[in-house]
Point group: D3
Chain length 336, copies 6
């Protein structure tokens, strides 16, 4: 049976059709499926991102009609891809293991049907089941991960537990679901993790771009390199976006804000480009915490990150079909 | 080893001395001990009360010097009782069972030393270990519970789990730690629980005062009855205060606000009276959720609830020693 | 065709069934129908109550399952009455005349089917079409109005216009839809209207209870009188609740806050009593303005006002069927 | 020269005429004069009440036209009394002594002209110059003070200084400007001051009504007693209202909130009654701190406190002229 | 007669002289005139920008003395140009047609006197009367429009109406007041309008710079092109700035926030440059919605946009008089 | 005796050891010492930065354990330098002269021990005692000042007083503590000061980089020039950071926000670079005003500004010892 928003009234992502995850026929033809993961039991500090899925689904001022034609891309991804919303997975925040298992099972079923799962978090703990589930479908160790975040999330344990929003990337690499040397992190900064964890990361061959490097080289150059690595001997890319990669000024609604991040413009452009250039097999957007948001701006940002990714996917599909496409930086009107 | 505030910098309740829970000599002579329970993994809706302990410890504008002489009671409970702060219990919100076990162990150790535990929540799930631990000391089934709340918290399960902030009172009564017919609930209102649960409550002999009854009879009459029941064939009282018993206007910083509650004045007077008239063996103050608070007013209220209870305890001790005491409603100054 | 929430995603009042207003068969058997009136073009100061309908529909922490068993009344009004939600009326705030006409038509159709319309505002301008529509069904001049508000809303014009949230009650009485001497106002206070308007009100035989009178006599006595007048030579009562009748501390989310109002407890008890004792033919709850709300407490209050009214109606129906009923102030549990 | 609002654009209290304090002819015929005291350098905790004067002047939704006909009293105090606004006194918060001297000089000039000064604070430090200035006019030691506050403000020193919002009442009594045994405090509560200061207060013969006494006896009885004392061998009353006497739920915008206060309804009724029954010679309303306010509700409350006092004064003048007056609790309309 | 702020107390833009719009002699010699357009009846989602004019007038921490010497430009535009404030136009939000007509009449009178109108919105619906009025003076079809916005505002109808904040640019071009091929839009992004509207825009020869193009080419290059087009066969420029062109992080106080916008630095620099280089005949700043603002930062931004435009105008006048001018990017001090 | 946080409970900067300023042995070996200056009596507009020290000390989500290993620099400055926290100086905001004297004495004692003082404001008035004290140690006139700010703070007087947050830089240069031509200001913008003050600044040889110059040349080039000047015939640098140099979108929690500032990324990079390249002898971070902050993002920014400066100092020490160092823009991981 379909669970809508675990908290609050049911509504789908910008009005796309609802579907029952238990009835595959309802959604097997979709290009992508929205899955809510309203879990914040893995947070090490501020909770609240359990309300992220419903907030990201609703954050818009246009009619919730399941259509969003992109100015930049000339596609209407929700329609073109056929996006559906499978509702939330029941994930009580007090029971991390049960919750992660339920999410992994849901994502696995979706990926198995060759539908791209778009998971709305929830805290970053969910990247563990998300990527594992996709890797089951794409091939264990055959998925590269591009990870936008202020934090590496590669801690060994958190409050003595293996599971939490500070550890999923270590669990993932340990599991072999993805290779450490195909794990690309963009936007790290601040004062965590400590040297021992950095050493472990280096041993895995991880490639992490700290903000000072992003500033020095430019985000475009960083993406060039990241996409090159991701495309080398892997079959697909999983994109994991922690909204705290963006500066707290533009993304205050999050649990562990770290000053000095990307602009929202940079994140949107980067996500769009990745989806245009790489074969996305799944995505999550995490750590949107409405209680700390103001005027819903962080929820809007999360919503647009999803739309840019879907738009890039739709554009890529169109291009690969041989249809004419417009490039985002082409003049929208005039100068022909 | 002492864990200070699990989240944020360490500080004690209004500056009372810190003590290490593992070193009993540091606190065995205290009259009461503050214990932080920064857990919100049992919330069914808004989280955030994990920050309740630190907020209630800090909510004041006077120097944090471990002294608070009460105008109404003429006692300085922090000093007179000798209150210490044992810091927080490590309670990761994603692991309800481990967290509850850790808290129960801590409270049990305190109660065993004949120190009255004052637990700062956290969500109401913690009432289960709190009362169990106290009952181990006072006598299984020998503790009456006076429970201020908008909600009965007697659900059978929550998201399929036995543990959560909607179920602790059922677990308690089932366990026999306290008798159902010595369980007094004040302030219930709204639309929960459903008839089946009410029937179960009736079977246990619970006595619940819904707000319409409180309005009709007056809170003083309600307290008369409650104290009479509580004092009948029980050896002590556990006082459990969910801040949502107060109207959301005066207590907005909580997870499940229910309009139409007590005034903060009513709650403070009631708590003081109970502590003056009944033998308190333990207390918790729960569901203060700072992310939803404004200008810290809910945290202030939680802080004052604790102070009124401690003040009542100190007053009672003084009175029982035969010392002269003042009655709260006596003129503070003049008219002699 | 059904328009859900005019703003934001569609959802119904606490999950009651949605129905298409154009297809009478979907809802003609219902006991009451929710109608959203998301209009704030009549506000003389702060706007924002266009978001009142969606906020009041969603303001709860329990599952949105269309069931709300009342502790105080022992009925589940949403189920017992069979409440449906007809969605919003399209009411662009920039076009007051078109919007009021559309609303009147909708409410009239509902009332004509002997379904009690429950209109969620929106600003108080909507009382004009609401009462007119109900009077068309009950009988022109045969509906008494009980009006909770800080303001009389009997201005002659507003910014030179006949329509606005300061004038509906004058328009109504002028139209004859309801008689001035069966128009009961409770909770007025402050500095409006000026003597000329008061004189007009007196000429109509209006009975307005200013807060100082409410304090001096008690709200119960005021209700006794109001119900007596309302029941004299009228066939039904329309209940119009402006949330600003409640003190701004408990209802900050409104456009024209006036200090010194009722407590939320008083309003809830009064609404419930009216619905239990008088034949309600319609109701509106207005001026809930989410942009000025905090932690949703005003939206919760609006939601509960609706539930208390529905509960009272369900209780009254049960009582009149001869079924056993419980009185709100009876002990919920125990003392039998 | 007139200084308007010291901070922000100039505007007068609800649009009453502006007057230049240096040109007495502009305002000598007024019944009362508004004076802004935008000083928060005496706060011991949260600052921000420097913005109190401009906030209280502006807090309304009606046209700022210098007219406010009172429903309860049937007078338009702003017009009937002839109220003017002298703007702010320049009071830089970093220089307490200069600021207090400047304010005392201004208030003294106003009182000397037999115009009733209404001072908008600012923190409570200003009560010292306010009452001193009025006493210079009425007679040193001939003014009774009625003081609404959660705090006694009778500390000996604050941060080692004689001046601050915790000490003005001691300075006043020490100076002889008012007698300790004609100093009435209503609404005290909480945990300050300590016994030594209480002893000093008792020595002065102060009469302080703690909230528990207010609850036990009722506010009306308390006012009966207070007015009796105030009228005994004194020639006038100074009314000093600290907005924190009201519960933080209804007055969050203040620096030292203390849970368990009066309702805003109680304060408004009490202020009105005092102004109706006693000869007011001056008044201040203090500690409204906009940065901590929500939706301006505390500023609204401060505004209405001023209006109720002015209304009471106008009503009293009318009554003493022998004109017919209405009593607030009389029916506003109907029941004749 | 002059209407000050339609809502709240009267004050002028940063203290510039007030003038009565009906008395031309008071303002005919001014270089520019501020006009408030407190209308939000055209908003399709969040209202609140009716409070934009008063908020933008007041948003500053310096004395409101009608003087603002620009560091960057070396001019004091308020003084040099002689700026006056004509107050608000009465624009009740519930009556869009009457409101737009009143505004057009006011702006037309100002432009007819060769005074540059600076209109403070209000929602973007007002661009229709604003540009029409200016075109009446400059020449129908002889005004180029430079339009900063996240949205094209070229919808055909909104809620079935021709008027609203989604349609003014279409109405304008249809009317011939300005030519479609001299209509320059900067900062568009997101998912609106749909292809049909884009096709209509293309037919008109509009030139719209979507954010991806702005990022790719740089804002300076975009402005080069825009200014070139605007200066070709047109006699003047109207500048219309929707504050939502800026990223929501820096401009949260708006109704339809769209992530990924300009920085506030970019907008300020661009507005200044346009006013320095092009002959401005009028300007509006719209969609500043205080209820959604935080710490007034969006109001401050709107205020500075006005000041930068006025500064550029004053600088341009000075330069054209042959006086020495400083260039903004010259060192402010030193390095000579 | 050590005063912890003057307001609220005591805690140190991210958990570094507390030390008693009166017992030099406790801290003489430290590399840097945190000093709180909780004073806002010098603010010309919004107060609240008295709470800056406690907010900046606490603003983090990691354990407060006195360790913060920097990703960018590869140092743990808190540990490597040995940072201690001396608590706050008692600075009552109502007494500017006493407060500044007390602060100067404290900072002078610290500098005299060759410990680098890091002062957390408080308003910018404190720069006067801060730099004076450091100059006493380094050499009167031998300290260059690098000053990030939206405002020059070189006013002659403020409200007629020599002291306030608008005048400290003038007082400093007049005193000779630092030379005007070694005073570098970065980030100025807006409309203050007026030409007379600019002329005075020019006479002193000050070098001020307005934002338009920063944009035109790039911040790196500006820093090149600033560091060159600062290093010419001076022995050390004092770094004074007013958080309002950052755009209000990322730093809303401040008293005099000025749109169009640096990004937080730019400020962090600049501070780090200055500390890496120049010999810092002292630093202050001022004007963080928590009452105007949202989700603590401005407090976080202030905290990180301190950490970046300390990190740069630790890196510089390491480099000068000849140890291997990493450059911030080197790849954090991979690409070796």
């Amino acid at each position: 049976m379909r669970l809508g928003n675990m908290y609050g009234p049911d509504h789908t992502f910008l009005g796309v059709p609802a579907a029952d995850p238990d009835d595959t026929r309802q959604w097997a033809a979709a290009g992508a499926a929205i899955i809510g993961a309203p879990f914040d039991g893995g947070t090490s500090h501020r909770a609240g991102c359990r309300f992220g899925p419903q907030a990201m689904r609703a954050a818009d001022y246009l009619p919730h009609d399941g259509s969003r034609p992109s100015l930049a891309l000339g596609v209407d991804a929700l329609v073109d891809l056929g996006v559906v919303d499978l509702g939330d997975v029941e994930m009580p925040s007090g029971d991390v293991e049960r919750s992660l298992a339920a999410l992994e099972e849901r994502v696995r079923a979706v990926a198995a049907a060759s539908v791209v799962p778009i998971i709305l978090g929830g805290d970053h703990t969910i990247a563990l089941p998300d990527v594992r589930a996709v890797a089951h479908h794409v091939g264990w160790g055959r998925v590269a991960v591009i990870h936008f975040d202020a934090h590496a999330d590669t801690g060994d344990t958190q409050w003595g537990s293996l599971y939490g929003h500070g550890t999923p990337m270590r669990r993932l690499i340990e599991s072999g679901a993805c290779r450490g040397d195909r794990f690309l992190q963009i936007g790290l900064r601040g004062y965590w993790p400590e040297p021992e964890t950095l050493a472990w990361m280096a041993e895995q061959g991880m490639r992490s771009f700290e903000m000072a490097e992003v500033v020095a080289r430019g985000l475009d150059a960083v993406l060039d390199e990241a996409l090159l690595i991701a495309g080398d001997d892997c079959d697909a890319v999983f994109l994991s976006v922690d909204v705290d990669v963006v500066d707290p000024g533009a993304a205050p609604g999050t649990g562990t804000p770290e000053p000095g991040g990307l602009t929202s413009r940079q994140l949107l452009d980067a996500v769009r480009r990745i989806a245009m250039e790489a074969p996305l097999a799944g995505m999550d957007v995490v750590e949107v915490a409405p209680p700390y948001d103001h005027a819903d701006i962080t929820a809007y940002l999360g919503n647009r990150v999803v739309l840019e990714a879907l738009g890039g996917m739709a554009w890529r599909a169109k291009q690969r079909r041989g249809d004419a496409v417009r490039h985002p930086s082409d003049p929208l009107l005039g100068r022909d």
